[in-house]
Symmetry: C2
Subunit: 238 residues, 2 copies
């Protein structure tokens, strides 16, 4: 049972490697999960796969775990990014959690003309991404980038990465992924993109509109649906 | 702007039809949305499409709206049911909301051996389904059935309706929809189905296992992903 507890740590993992577990994670292991010295946890760091480690020293301020056996090799998500306009906090957290489970490589919050949220706590959203990876068995945690204006992101875009633009005005049209290769899904705010933004996006050669059925999906629903369809067509669900 | 407010009402709709709006909806229209007599709302009842209606009499205890013009014809979702084991309340609500947006015809909560939740407030979940339909532009509200044991549901199952069984032990296998026709998606509890349940499901001729990528998805994520894939393959997203 205890070996089912998975923790993300930003330290090297390898046979015999000692890993220091911080105060928060130690509190979780000892006070919440009631683990003590000699019990095992699973560790991953986004680079070295997943390791079974034994708790060797356990104190209030932290613990030491010793890596014993690699239990999963490192597996990177496919090269899919999610660009999203922050919505209400719970729904943004949900979008981040689900994107990690479904499998994305990077999360880029973008500021659009119509805003649903004035602030984005990137650190909190990064923590949600870590929790989701711990939960879903992933060995990688996608970065949650700092919020940037959509214009800036598009101005510096690498044109070899296709942007699938979820455009709610296309409800009812056919959904298709035009190309393989690096990709990103772009989800707008509640209320959609502005006329200027839509015109700009429609004129970019690396942007492909994506329709998601006849109903108007909330932002987080559109994100999950688009990631799912891309994963099944181009990603690691094939 | 006011014509964007959509309300589900369980009353006949048609040209010139007077519809009585209950106290709760009237409170929403007047105190929250600040509408008064002469302003318009959109109404749907799951049978007669969507109608623009004008508020004719507005009082504290209720209002009367008169249907003017049909603004959308009745559109039924495709014949897909969602069978799901209730999880924590927020996640169950989320699953219900998203299933309505993505498009299902019926929601059937099922009690499985591993339970994550002792209670399910069907009335609350039905209210979530109504809100989701109001929000997403659907003209139909799926029924949320009463919780029933999975065994009973399977014992009375119509074998012409394929059950796509989201089986987390198949993570990494290929996802495919075997047949067209009436369908249901079956999502288990956190912790999965019991050995007996899995054996029983695997032996039923109308049950097809469905794999959803290499990561372990939470119940609500699996539900959304499976509905999305079915909609794109067999449903009204084609």
């Amino acid at each position: 049972m205890s070996a089912r507890i998975r923790l993300y740590v930003d330290q090297p993992l390898g046979k015999g490697q000692a890993v220091s577990v911080g105060a928060d994670q130690t509190h979780y292991l000892t006070s919440v999960m009631r683990l003590g010295a000699g019990e095992t946890v699973l560790l991953f760091n986004g680079r070295d796969g997943e390791w079974r480690a034994e708790l060797a020293e356990v104190a209030r301020r932290g613990a030491i775990a010793i890596c014993a056996v690699q239990t999963a090799s490192q597996r990177m998500p496919p090269d899919l990014w999610l660009l999203f306009a922050p919505v209400k906090r719970d729904r943004t957290s949900f979008m981040v959690e689900k994107a990690v489970e479904l499998g994305v490589a990077r999360l880029l919050p973008v500021a659009t003309r119509h805003r649903n949220s004035e602030r984005l706590r990137t650190d909190k959203q990064q923590a949600h991404a870590v929790e989701a990876a711990e939960q879903c068995g992933a060995t990688f945690v996608p970065e949650v980038a700092e919020l940037q204006p959509l214009d800036h992101v598009l101005a510096g875009w690498d044109a070899t990465r296709t942007i699938y633009w979820c455009d709610e005005t296309r409800a009812g049209q056919k959904t298709a992924f035009a190309t393989s290769g690096p990709a990103a899904i772009l989800i707008g705010p509640e209320g959609g993109f502005s006329v200027d933004e839509s015109r700009h996006l429609a004129g970019l050669p690396y942007v492909t509109p994506l329709a998601l059925g006849p109903r108007i999906l909330r932002a987080e629903t559109a994100a999950l649906a688009a990631i799912t369809l891309w994963q099944a067509a181009q990603g690691d669900w094939r």
